[in-house]
């Protein structure tokens, strides 16, 4: 087994992760006698969980960051669910959905579901929720639903959504914040319709209390429409400092800690009493490039940068080999990831130097770069800088807080490049759209290169999964051929848990549902 960078502990690689997955799947094939020895789920107990981020709000409409989902999916069911390992869409509050024509989506809703406040879930509630998502002043997801022209209850448990233009990504959008249905009665009863801190959904757990940046307490929803949750309740502590957060589990003061990084995993793995686990993630590390101005306007310079990076080394050094050391925006095995394009760029300094020479930059080029100021980000920047320097590409780096880097690079159009993690969206077309479309905030250039729009529109207009996959493969190649960004590696979702915690799945989106989690006695 490979040795990692942090000591003598055996290294977890993608291969060992896959082996673990296969082993878990193999359990199902074991004889009944052998399976009987496996621990059986039991009800009861309160899970003591920890995460490093305080949610901005527990109203899915006004919240804003991915880690909010650590709590949101306890409280809310979405209209459409997804398989955490593949992101394949699945029935949830909608038992089925169908595009009756390219501009009409019809949802059939589950019957007999109640919100936590006892009011019924039905088509009226869904229409109210979607209208609120599009019109509420504090809604952060108006742009997600900009495609919707009209929503209508076409039956007590049927909703028809008329679109302004065809959009195949809408079902995936309804598995996100926009689909997390909030009780209309709770909104109407709240002052100013503000339910940031009084969330009422249909999910497996009910809200009890939120002490800001300290703890969120939830209790089992005994009237849950599906299988009842095993846990009696969950106490989600918020501990901002990552190393302190891990200590809560190693000291036995918490059962599981979420959203850790490779450094904490290395520390936790030295303790035999806890389990540290990594799973593939849709979050990836890249650099946004301003390809509308300056040296990066020349595609040859952008390509040279891509040829200069040694991504397997980046993954090994910066993420302990837990992520994906390739240039795709998606993890290996994801349905929209073309395995033949995944390694479009591998380290080739000769090619990089030749492209720079061709661009008239034989003596190299200086790229003004912004990066986050935390220790891990600075380390990442140093390794990337060192690799690019081998090809004669010199980074002039300005570290700053994340919001500051966004302001400098995306709002004020300063510099040429921003090193940042990004991703984490359920639909791959949306991932491309939010980074490369001319209207995307993350596209500093605010332009689209020839050929992009046709592929983007095709990915939105194509409803057949196989054809859509082919379009997205083409998009992946287009983005890489034109070197629209500088991908470094895909991330991993990292947790540390007590062995007592069973059946936890972080999933590709790092949006866990604690519905099936149970605690050993």
């Amino acid at each position: 087994m490979a040795r990692n960078l942090f000591g003598n502990t055996p290294d977890i690689t993608r291969r060992s992760l896959l082996a673990g997955t296969v082993a878990a799947g193999g359990m199902a094939l074991l004889p009944a006698k052998a399976r009987a020895q496996a621990p059986q789920p039991r009800s009861g107990g309160t899970l003591r969980a920890v995460m490093p981020f305080n949610p901005a709000a527990l109203d899915p409409l006004t919240g804003r960051n991915n880690p909010d989902f650590n709590v949101l999916f306890m409280l809310f069911d979405a209209l459409i669910g997804f398989d955490p390992a593949t992101l394949e869409l699945q029935p949830m509050l909608a038992t089925s959905w169908k595009f009756t024509d390219p501009k009409t989506l019809v949802l059939e809703l589950r019957q007999g579901v109640e919100f936590h406040d006892g009011t019924p879930f039905n088509a009226e509630a869904v229409v109210f929720h979607l209208q609120r998502s599009m019109t509420y002043e504090r809604s952060n997801i108006k742009s997600d639903l900009a495609v919707i022209d009209k929503t209508e209850a076409t039956g007590p448990y049927q909703v028809s959504i008329k679109l302004k233009y065809p959009d195949a990504t809408l079902p995936a959008v309804l598995s996100d914040r926009a689909g997390c249905i909030v009780s209309p009665a709770s909104v109407k009863a709240a002052a100013g319709g503000n339910v940031d801190r009084a969330p009422v959904g249909t999910g497996p757990f009910k809200f009890v209390e939120w002490q800001d940046n300290t703890v969120i307490k939830l209790v089992k929803n005994a009237n849950y429409w599906g299988d009842k949750p095993y846990l009696d309740g969950i106490e989600m502590r918020i501990v901002n400092e990552f190393n302190t957060a891990v200590r809560t589990v190693t000291a036995g003061e918490a059962d599981i800690v979420l959203n850790m990084s490779a450094q904490q995993m290395a520390v936790a793995r030295r303790d035999p009493k806890v389990a540290a686990e990594a799973s593939p993630s849709m979050i990836y590390y890249t650099s946004f490039l301003n390809y509308g101005d300056g040296p990066l306007k020349d595609v040859r310079v952008r390509q040279a940068m891509n040829w200069a990076l040694d991504r397997p080394v980046l993954n090994q050094v910066l993420w302990g080999g837990l992520g994906g050391g390739h240039c795709s925006m998606f993890p290996t095995g994801f349905w929209a990831n073309d395995p033949t394009t995944e390694n479009f760029y591998t380290k080739d300094l000769d090619k990089a130097k030749a492209l720079l020479k061709e661009a008239g930059l034989a003596n190299g080029v200086e790229i003004q770069t912004f990066t986050w100021a935390d220790q891990a980000a600075v380390q990442r920047q140093e390794v990337v800088s060192a690799q690019l320097a081998e090809a004669g590409i010199r980074l002039k780096v300005t570290p700053a807080q994340p919001a500051q880097t966004m302001q400098y690079f995306l709002t004020e159009k300063k510099g040429h490049m921003l090193l940042t993690p990004t991703g984490g969206l359920p639909d791959p077309a949306t991932t491309y759209d939010r980074q490369f479309s001319a209207t995307a905030y993350r596209n500093a250039a605010k332009i689209e290169l020839p050929g992009y729009r046709e592929l983007m529109d095709a990915s939105m207009n194509e409803f057949d999964n196989a054809k859509r996959k082919a379009v997205l493969y083409k998009m992946q190649r287009f983005v890489l051929e034109n070197a629209l960004h500088l991908p470094q590696f895909t991330s991993a979702g990292i947790i540390v848990r007590s062995p007592k915690v069973q059946s936890f799945a972080f999933g590709l989106l790092q949006r866990p549902r604690f519905h099936k989690v149970w605690m050993q006695a």
């Binding site: 305080n54 901005a56 709000a57 919240g63 804003r64 960051n65 991915n66 002043e137 504090r138 952060n140 108006k142 742009s143 503000n194 940031d196 801190r197 002490q211 800001d212 940046n213 300290t214 502590r237 501990v239 901002n240 400092e241 302190t244 957060a245 200590r247 809560t248 190693t250 000291a251 036995g252 003061e253 700053a400 807080q401 919001a403 500051q404 966004m406 302001q407 400098y408 709002t411 990004t422 984490g424 969206l425 939010r434 209207t439 905030y441 993350r442």
Partner: protein
């Protein structure tokens, strides 16, 4: 015109308002001038430019800095510290929920520091030049040099993860269970108290040496007063002003040190609140906490002066 201690208190209270205005304006300016747009934080991971512009307008971030500051100040003068930009919680509620944890930490560490530091300083002064004096002086120097966060991590590793004597993280409210609250606060208080011990030991030693070397002490010795009586009746009484002043300064310093210690031990205090809010550019919360900390500093200094003036009426007359 009022004289004596009441006059001094009245004069200090009159100085309060301008000090508060200047202090909060400085904090507001620093937070405002820090690069970064709070609208971006509020808008979230995948914001559109339109949504960011809308948020700027809703929250008034597009107004000039002075307009924003005086709007905040006008609300404060009406007793309203505002609401967090992110959690929408009332700032006063956020502060009041956290302040007891920080006050407990500060007072606990001050008590520990005084209980250990003052006797060490007395020992060192009364045994000047001996090995014990050199040992105490060296340990005190080390205590000043050791970063409290590092010591905190060492304490956790030894006494929480190793021996499991104390909790590694968290806090319990004093109002729910005072004994548990003190138990939880012990390790962070010890980490904070180390520098207090060091500073008090050094200062008490040097102040006491100065007093014990003065002419009137020599006269007392010549009159046959015992060393014990000289130390307790005359020496310590004369260094009490120094001890009080140092203790006051330590309280102010401990509030700032608590920012890091609260992060190491996951204590939900005001230090934790201000660091988290500053990173998120949550103006109202940062301003509110700054205001409270300014008040703490002013009233601590006032208390020290009142106590000094009570012990020594000359102080009241001179301030």
């Amino acid at each position: 015109m009022m004289y004596g201690v009441p006059g001094m208190v009245a004069r200090r209270l009159m100085q309060l308002l301008p000090v508060m205005i200047v202090a909060t304006f400085v904090v507001f300016s620093l937070v405002y001038l820090m690069p970064g747009d709070p609208a971006l934080m509020i808008a979230g991971d995948y914001a559109t430019p339109e949504r960011i512009a809308e948020i700027r307008q809703i929250y008034g971030f597009d107004r000039p800095m002075l307009v924003q500051y005086f709007a905040w100040l006008a609300n404060v003068l009406r007793g309203d510290l505002g609401r967090s930009l992110f959690s929408n919680e009332a700032v006063l509620t956020l502060i009041l929920a956290r302040l007891p944890h920080t006050i407990l930490l500060v007072l606990y560490s001050l008590l520990l520091g005084a209980m250990i530091g003052v006797p060490l300083g007395i020992l060192a002064a009364t045994r000047q030049g001996t090995r014990l004096d050199k040992f105490i002086t060296s340990v005190a120097s080390l205590g000043v040099a050791i970063p409290s966060f590092w010591l905190g991590i060492i304490l956790v590793t030894l006494f929480s993860l190793g021996y499991r004597w104390f909790p590694a993280t968290g806090a319990v409210s004093m109002f729910e269970n005072p004994f548990e609250a003190v138990y939880y606060a012990t390790l962070p208080a010890v980490a904070l108290a180390t520098s207090v011990v060091a500073v008090l030991a050094r200062q008490v030693r040097s102040a006491l040496l100065e007093v014990l070397g003065s002419q009137y002490i020599r006269t007392l010795r010549a009159k046959g007063l015992s060393s014990r009586a000289i130390l307790w009746k005359h020496g310590l009484r004369n260094v009490s002003a120094t001890m009080l002043t140092i203790a006051g300064l330590q309280i102010n310093r401990l509030f700032s040190s608590a920012v890091i210690i609260e992060a190491v031990f996951a204590v939900p205090g005001v230090g934790n609140l201000i660091s988290y809010s500053a990173l998120n550019k949550d103006f109202p919360v940062v301003q509110g906490v700054a205001l409270v900390l300014v008040l703490v500093v002013i009233f601590t200094n006032l208390l020290v002066d009142v106590l000094n003036a009570t012990f020594d009426p000359r102080v009241a007359a001179s301030t």
